[in-house]
C-alpha cells in the first residue's frame, strides 16, 4: 500500500537531544580530565627532575643518578614483592573464608572488621610497626639468623631493633590486605551460582568447588585487586619511613638492620632537608617510581590478557 518514498514524519524527527549530548560531554570530559591530571603529574615530575640528570650529581655520596636510584628502586620492588607474597594468599584466604566458609550472618560483620584495617592512617601503621611489631619480630629474627643463617636471606647478624625490611613488608602487607580482600570478596560473591552448583552436583567437596568454580571465575578479579594493592604498596611513604632502618644498599637479607630503602620513604626522609639539586634528584626518583608502576601495570595487564575473564557483564 504505502509505496511512497519514505519521508520521516516530524513525529520521528529529533529536535536534537541537547541533554544527551551534554551528559555524554560531561562524562567524556571527566574521562579526559584524568588523562590531563596524569599528564600534569608526569610533566611536573619530568620538568622538576631534569636538573638531576646533569653531570655534577652529588647526593648522599653517589656520583650519578642511577647509582643513587638503583638501590632505592630495588628496595621498593623488593619490599612490595615481599608484601604481596604475604598479603595476596592471606587476602584470598580471608575473602574465601568470608564468602564460602563463615556462617552467612557473621560474614558481613567480619567483612566490616577487615575493612576497618583500611581505615587505619599510615602514621599509625608506622607507629605500630616501629614500636609493637618490630619488637615482636626481633626474637624471631635472632632465631632465624642464629639457626638458619646459612640461607642467604637470613645471613649476617640480626637487627637489634627488629626494624628490618621484613617488618616493613609485613606492615605493607597488613595495609594492602583490606584492599585486596574487599575486591576479591566482591568478585567471589559474583561467582555464578550455576557453576558452584554444577561442581557440587558432581560430588565436589567445598575446596574442590572453590577450585573448579570460584577461583577460575575470580582469577582476573584477584589480579586487579592485587594491582590496586600493589599500587598502594609501591607508593606507601610514611609507614615505611617510620618502620624501616634504611641504607643505600642492595641486599636481599630479611633480618638485618641494614636494609635497602624505598623510593617513596626516601623522599619523605630526605625532602625536608633537601635543597637545590637534591630536590630534583628526589623528584627524579619519584619519576622512576612512576615508571615502575607503569611497568608493573603493563605486566599485570599482560598476565590478564593471557588469562582473560570469562563471563561477566558486557
Amino acid at each position: 500500500m504505502s509505496s511512497a518514498p519514505a519521508a520521516a514524519s516530524p513525529k520521528l524527527r529529533a529536535k536534537g537531544r541537547p541533554a544527551d549530548i551534554i551528559f555524554q560531554g560531561i562524562s567524556t570530559f571527566a574521562g579526559i580530565s584524568i588523562l590531563v591530571m596524569l599528564g600534569l603529574v608526569a610533566i611536573f615530575l619530568v620538568v622538576q627532575s631534569i636538573p638531576a640528570f646533569g653531570p655534577d650529581f652529588d647526593v648522599k655520596g653517589t656520583s650519578n643518578f642511577l647509582e643513587y636510584v638503583g638501590p632505592l628502586a630495588f628496595g621498593t620492588v623488593w619490599a612490595s614483592f615481599l608484601a604481596m607474597i604475604m598479603a595476596v594468599p592471606v587476602a584470598i584466604g580471608i575473602a574465601l573464608f568470608i564468602t564460602h566458609f563463615a556462617p552467612r550472618k557473621l560474614a558481613s560483620t567480619i567483612g566490616f572488621v577487615i575493612d576497618l584495617l583500611a581505615a587505619v592512617p599510615s602514621v599509625v601503621f608506622g607507629l605500630w610497626g616501629a614500636n609493637v611489631l618490630a619488637g615482636f619480630m626481633k626474637p624471631a629474627y635472632a632465631w632465624l639468623s642464629d639457626n638458619l643463617g646459612f640461607i642467604p636471606l637470613f645471613a649476617g647478624t640480626a637487627s637489634g631493633t627488629g626494624r628490618t625490611i621484613l617488618t616493613a613488608s609485613i606492615v605493607l602487607a597488613v595495609m594492602v590486605l583490606p584492599i585486596i580482600t574487599a575486591l576479591s570478596r566482591e568478585v567471589f560473591l559474583q561467582t555464578p551460582r550455576l557453576h558452584e552448583e554444577a561442581s557440587l552436583a558432581l560430588g565436589a567437596t567445598r575446596w574442590e568447588m572453590i577450585k573448579m568454580a570460584v577461583l577460575p571465575f575470580g582469577a582476573s578479579g584477584i589480579v586487579s585487586a592485587s594491582i590496586l594493592g600493589l599500587g598502594r604498596a609501591l607508593g606507601e611513604t610514611m609507614a615505611i619511613a617510620m618502620v624501616l632502618s634504611p641504607s643505600l644498599v642492595v641486599s636481599f637479607i630479611l633480618t638485618s638492620g641494614t636494609n635497602p630503602s624505598t623510593i617513596a620513604s626516601n623522599i619523605a626522609l630526605s625532602f625536608p632537608e633537601a635543597h637545590g639539586n637534591e630536590v630534583s634528584a628526589l623528584i627524579a626518583t619519584g619519576l622512576v617510581l612512576f615508571i615502575i608502576t607503569i611497568l608493573v601495570n603493563g605486566l599485570a595487564r599482560w598476565l590478564l590478557g593471557r588469562n582473560p575473564r570469562t563471563g561477566g557483564a558486557k
Binding site: K60, G61, A130, N131, A134, G135, K138, T157, S159, G160, T161, G162, R163, A241, M242, L244, S245, P246, S247, L248, V249, G257, T258, S261, A268, L269, S270, F271, P272, E273, A274, H275, E278, V279
Partner: protein
C-alpha cells in the same frame, strides 16, 4: 585570613599572621615561644612548620616564609624576596641545645667515652659492650657481653650534622667522613626523627643513639671526654661552649653565624651541642611584617622566652651577650 577581630588584648594591639618554616629541632621551643607570644598578643597567629632546615632555607630564600629555622647557617651571599631592598637574611642563634649520646643497658645510667670510642661504635668497629675501649674508660662498671646496636637518624638531620662535626673535629682519624646531614656509614640502624631514635633505643636493650638532650629521659647518657675529664651534658655546659664560639668571618652586619670550637679542652664545657638559628631579614619589604617579626623575635630572645623554652623544651638559655647582639641585629626591622 582567620585572625579574630576582637581587640580584647590588653597588652597589645598588633595583629596579623606570621609563618615560619624550618628545623624540627627547635619545633618544641617554637611552640613554647608562639604560645607565650600569642597569649600576649591575642590577635596574632604565628605558625611554625617544623618541616626541616632544608625546607626552611628553601622557604626563606624563595620567599615562602616570613622567617625560617635552620640547624645550619645560611650562606653569606643568600638573598630573600621578603627582605627590603637594603635588607638581607641574617642568622640569629636563638636555640642552643646539647645533643646527648643515649644508650639502653640494664642497670647502667652513665658511661664515659671519648670521641674516638663513640666514633668507632657508630662506625660499627666496636660491636660489643664489653669491648676493651669502653671498659678501660669505665672502671668499676660491669659491662655486659652484649652486641651493640647503634641507632642513627635515617632522615637528613641537623642533629646528625652536629654530631658528625664533633666527631670529625675531635677524632678525625676515625670519623673520616665529611660532616653532613646524612649519616655517612653503612653500619648500625636508622630511625626517623629524634622520636624514632629515642623509641628504638628505649624499646631495645644494648642500643645506643644520639638525640636532642631534651628527649634523653630515663635513658643512660654518655659523658664526653673533654680534656682530661668526662662531662655530662647540661644546659650550662652547653651554653659554655657557645660562649667560646666565634662569629664567622665575612658576614654582614648583624649576621651571627657561629663557629663552635668542638675541640675545646676547657673544663665544664660540653662541646656536642646543636645551635639552631632563626633566619630573618635585617629589614623587611613589608614594614608591618617587619614589626611583627621584630615583636616575635624580641619575645623569643627575652629572658622569659628563653627560660620557658628551657623549662618546656629542654634547651639552654642564650647568654645576655648573645641576646644583646641579636637585639642589635633585629633593630633594623622596625626602622
Amino acid at each position: 585570613d582567620e585572625s579574630e577581630d576582637t581587640t580584647g588584648g590588653e597588652t597589645s594591639s598588633i595583629s596579623g599572621t606570621l609563618n615560619g618554616v624550618g628545623a624540627s629541632s627547635m619545633g618544641g621551643a617554637q611552640t613554647v615561644w608562639i604560645a607565650g607570644f600569642q597569649t600576649a598578643n591575642p590577635d596574632v597567629t604565628v605558625n611554625y612548620d617544623p618541616a626541616g632546615s632544608g625546607a626552611g632555607v628553601e622557604a626563606i630564600t624563595g620567599g615562602g616564609a616570613d622567617y625560617a629555622g635552620s640547624d645550619a647557617v645560611l650562606e653569606a651571599d643568600a638573598t630573600s624576596p621578603v627582605c627590603a631592598a637594603d635588607g638581607y637574611p641574617v642568622n640569629l642563634p636563638v636555640y642552643i641545645s646539647p645533643v646527648a649520646v643515649v644508650f639502653n643497658l640494664e642497670g647502667i645510667d652513665s658511661l664515659n667515652m671519648d670521641a674516638e670510642t663513640i666514633a668507632n661504635i657508630f662506625k660499627g668497629e666496636i660491636t660489643n659492650w664489653n669491648d676493651e675501649a669502653i671498659a678501660s674508660q669505665n672502671e668499676g662498671v660491669e659491662l655486659p657481653d652484649q652486641a651493640i646496636t647503634a641507632v642513627h637518624r635515617s632522615d637528613e638531620s641537623g642533629t646528625t650534622e652536629n654530631f658528625a662535626e664533633y666527631l670529625s673535629a675531635v677524632a678525625p682519624d676515625t670519623w673520616d667522613a665529611e660532616p653532613d646531614k646524612v649519616f655517612p656509614y653503612e653500619g648500625g640502624e636508622g630511625a626517623q626523627q629524634t622520636s624514632g631514635v629515642i623509641d628504638a633505643v628505649t624499646n631495645n636493650q644494648g642500643t645506643i643513639g644520639y638525640a636532642d638532650a631534651s628527649r634523653a629521659g630515663e635513658l643512660g647518657t654518655v659523658a664526653l671526654k673533654v680534656g682530661e675529664e668526662y662531662v655530662e651534658f647540661s644546659a650550662d655546659a652547653a651554653a659554655a661552649v657557645v660562649e667560646t664560639a666565634t662569629i664567622e668571618e665575612g658576614r654582614q652586619d648583624g649576621d651571627l653565624a657561629f663557629e663552635i670550637d668542638r675541640t675545646t679542652t676547657e673544663s665544664g664545657v660540653y662541646p656536642l651541642v646543636l645551635v639552631s638559628y632563626t633566619v630573618a631579614c635585617s629589614s623587611y619589604e613589608d614594614a608591618e611584617k617587619g614589626a611583627l617579626v621584630h615583636a616575635y623575635l624580641t619575645h623569643v630572645i627575652s629572658e622569659e622566652g628563653q627560660q620557658a623554652a628551657a623549662d618546656e623544651a629542654g634547651s639552654a638559655p642564650i647568654s645576655a651577650s648573645i641576646r644583646d647582639q641579636i637585639t642589635e641585629s633585629i633593630a633594623g626591622m622596625v626602622e
